[in-house]
Structure formats: structure tokens, C-alpha cells
């Protein structure tokens, strides 16, 4: 029964390298090595980011639920991100700005750098500088960073519905999003944005 290894296993490093290769290969193949394609999501001329993102999340969520149901994985052992009200929201705002201004996120910038995008290499340098700034100024907001701790809370526990229903609602939401973003993209690309 999974998970087979933990963070301290040496095997985890090897497996992570292999998973990383798949990660980079898929992102690059999907065109996520181009900042202009990625940013299209904010201007309506290319919603690939939304499609890949929600499709991946939905697939993994359904897969995990089935693996749990079949007894292949111990869902209580997997990592669930902790929620810190203020810090998580502020982080999202900063990342949104970083995305629209820089054109990448940390994962996509690696793929873009690997095929020779100089702007992506600069972006990576920026992420490191940003992390350094955060670490140096940490005492200023150490309290804020750990305040509003809600723990590893899931959306179904918070609302008080079953996990299966929550995943079903998520799937419906994703399909509706796919439909409307496809319609918007059709309209906007008629105005011809070439990149």
C-alpha cells in the first residue's frame, strides 16, 4: 500500500528526478516554455494554462480518491497543504503579480530555461532573490506568517460534505470553465493575436 517512500528515503530523490523529467517534458510539450502562451490566460487569447491546470488537478483528485477506495494508498499518510489565512492569501497575490509581470511561474521557468529562453533564466534568478529577500526580512512578519493557522484542512471538511461530492462539484466546475474559456478564446482569437 502506498505511499511507498517518504521524504527521508534516498529512493525518493531518484524517483523525484524521474518524475521531474516527466514534469518538464509535459510542460514543455504543452507550450509552457513560452511566457507569451502562458500569459494568454490573462488576456483571453490562450487558455491552455487553465486547461492543463484544472485537468491535471481533477485527474489527480479522482485518481487519489480511487486509489484510496481500492486500498492502494493510505490517504491519511499523504501530504495535505496547511492553510494560513493571511499568509496564503498574500502569497497568492504576490504570485499573481509575479506571473503577470514576469510571465512565468517557478516550474514553467525551468522548462523555458532548458530550451534556451534567457528571460526565463533571469526570472529564476529573480525567484531566488525574492526568496532571499523574504528570508532576510523574515523577523518583520514572522508572526503574520504563522498566524491564522487552520491546519491541513480540506475543502469537503470545511463545507461539511462528502469527499466524493466535493470532487464531483470540482469536476463540474472544471468542465464549465473549459466550456466558457473555449468560447472566449474563440471570440478573442478572431481579433487575431499572433505570438
Amino acid at each position: 500500500m502506498g505511499p511507498l517512500f517518504t521524504g527521508t528515503d534516498e529512493w525518493t530523490l531518484v524517483i523525484s528526478l524521474v518524475i521531474g523529467i516527466g514534469f518538464g517534458y509535459i510542460l514543455e510539450s504543452a507550450g509552457f516554455s513560452s511566457s507569451r502562451k502562458l500569459v494568454g490566460v490573462f488576456y483571453g487569447y490562450d487558455f491552455s494554462v487553465i486547461r492543463v491546470f484544472f485537468m491535471a488537478a481533477v485527474t489527480a483528485a479522482i485518481g487519489l480518491a480511487y486509489f484510496g477506495y481500492l486500498g492502494w494508498i493510505d490517504l491519511s499518510a499523504i501530504y495535505i497543504n496547511k492553510f494560513y489565512l493571511g499568509s496564503t492569501i498574500l502569497g497568492g497575490i504576490f504570485m499573481g503579480l509575479g506571473f503577470i509581470i514576469g510571465g512565468f511561474c517557478p516550474g514553467t521557468s525551468v522548462c523555458a530555461a532548458s530550451i534556451g529562453k534567457i528571460d526565463a533564466i533571469i526570472f529564476i534568478g529573480g525567484v531566488m532573490i525574492g526568496s532571499l529577500i523574504f528570508s532576510l526580512a523574515y523577523p518583520l512578519y514572522a508572526n503574520f506568517y504563522t498566524s491564522g493557522a487552520k491546519g491541513a484542512v480540506t475543502i469537503y471538511d470545511m463545507i461539511g460534505i462528502s469527499k466524493e461530492l466535493a470532487i464531483f462539484i470540482f469536476v463540474v466546475f472544471a468542465v464549465i470553465t473549459f466550456y466558457f474559456t473555449a468560447e472566449i478564446q474563440k471570440k478573442i482569437s478572431e481579433k487575431s493575436h499572433k505570438y
Partner: protein, 172 residues
């Protein structure tokens, strides 16, 4: 450029990425991530340049070196190295390997570089407050139906949409 192949269908890419996340959880109990690797590089540099600073238990990156831990010996560091290799393989197969600065014809390379740096810095700060980036906090978080995953994704995209108008000259 002329032999450049088309991109993979984004729904297919999403399913493949989702299966990869599933197997990552199955094998290592955690999903994908990227920003953690950069944080560890910074921690490593701090450890080399100013060891007394990071050895102070109150410093932010102390957690990466405590009990004699090696900050680079971490799954996310290996994952990002892998992502670089995987991206390079796909770029090679699809004839997309080329050293260049990508930008719209309306801005200069210099301007693109400047904004890539600013965006990177903001993202680095954001991924620290958010305890992970688009993949580690957002994608994984949604895969396990964590509230934090949905919140962080809503705020990343929400902020992007709300501010897109101000930065349209960079992209359109």
C-alpha cells in the same frame, strides 16, 4: 523555427500531468513542486557565505540545515533538475532549442529582461508566503482538495486578471 512542431493538446497534457501527480503521491507521499528547490539553493548559498546567520535558530532557512541536514539533498531539488532535463528533451524533439529572449515586437529585450527579473522577485516572495508555488501549493493543493490550494489558485489568477490591464503593453 520552420520545423517547429505544434504543442501537445492541452487537455491531454493535463491528464498526463494529473497521472504524474497521482504517481508522485503514490510513490513519495507528495506531489510536484519547484519553488522549494530555489529556496534550498538560497539556503545553501546563505550557509556557505554567512554560516553564522543561517545557523541562528530564528533565521528562516534554519529548518533546511538543522541537525546537520544538507539543504540540496531534497526531492524538490532533484525534481527541478529532472524538469530541466525533461524540458530540454521535449524542446530537442520538437525543434524548439534556441537561445533567445522572448517578447512581443512592441517591447525591447531589455525591457522584457527587466520585467522578468521583477516578476521573478515578486514570485519568490509570494511562493514563500504561500508556502509553495503554482505547482507545490496550487496544483498539489487542489489534487488533495486542500483549502489552501484553492485559495492560492484563486488569488494567483484573481490578481492576474485584476492587474492584467496595467501590464497589457508588456504582452499585447
Amino acid at each position: 523555427m520552420k520545423n517547429q512542431k505544434k504543442y501537445m493538446n492541452s487537455y491531454l497534457a493535463g491528464v498526463l500531468l494529473g497521472l504524474l501527480i497521482l504517481f508522485s503521491f503514490y510513490l513519495t507521499r507528495e506531489g510536484l513542486g519547484a519553488s522549494g528547490a530555489y529556496k534550498r539553493v538560497v539556503a545553501k548559498v546563505e550557509h556557505i557565505v554567512v554560516p553564522s546567520y543561517i545557523e541562528n535558530t530564528s533565521s528562516y532557512f534554519h529548518k533546511y540545515i538543522k541537525d546537520g541536514k544538507e539543504p540540496m539533498k531534497n526531492r524538490l531539488v532533484f525534481m527541478v533538475i529532472g524538469a530541466f532535463i525533461g524540458g530540454f528533451i521535449s524542446g530537442g524533439i520538437n525543434n524548439r532549442l534556441k537561445l533567445k529572449v522572448e517578447h512581443t515586437p512592441n517591447i525591447t529585450s531589455k525591457k522584457r529582461i527587466l520585467f522578468a527579473a521583477i516578476g521573478g522577485i515578486l514570485f519568490g516572495i509570494g511562493a514563500s508566503f504561500g508556502r509553495g508555488c503554482t505547482s507545490g501549493a496550487g496544483l498539489n493543493g487542489m489534487a488533495v482538495m486542500a483549502v489552501s490550494g484553492f485559495v492560492v489558485v484563486a488569488f494567483i489568477f484573481g490578481t492576474g486578471y485584476l492587474t492584467a490591464w496595467f501590464f497589457k503593453k508588456l504582452w499585447l
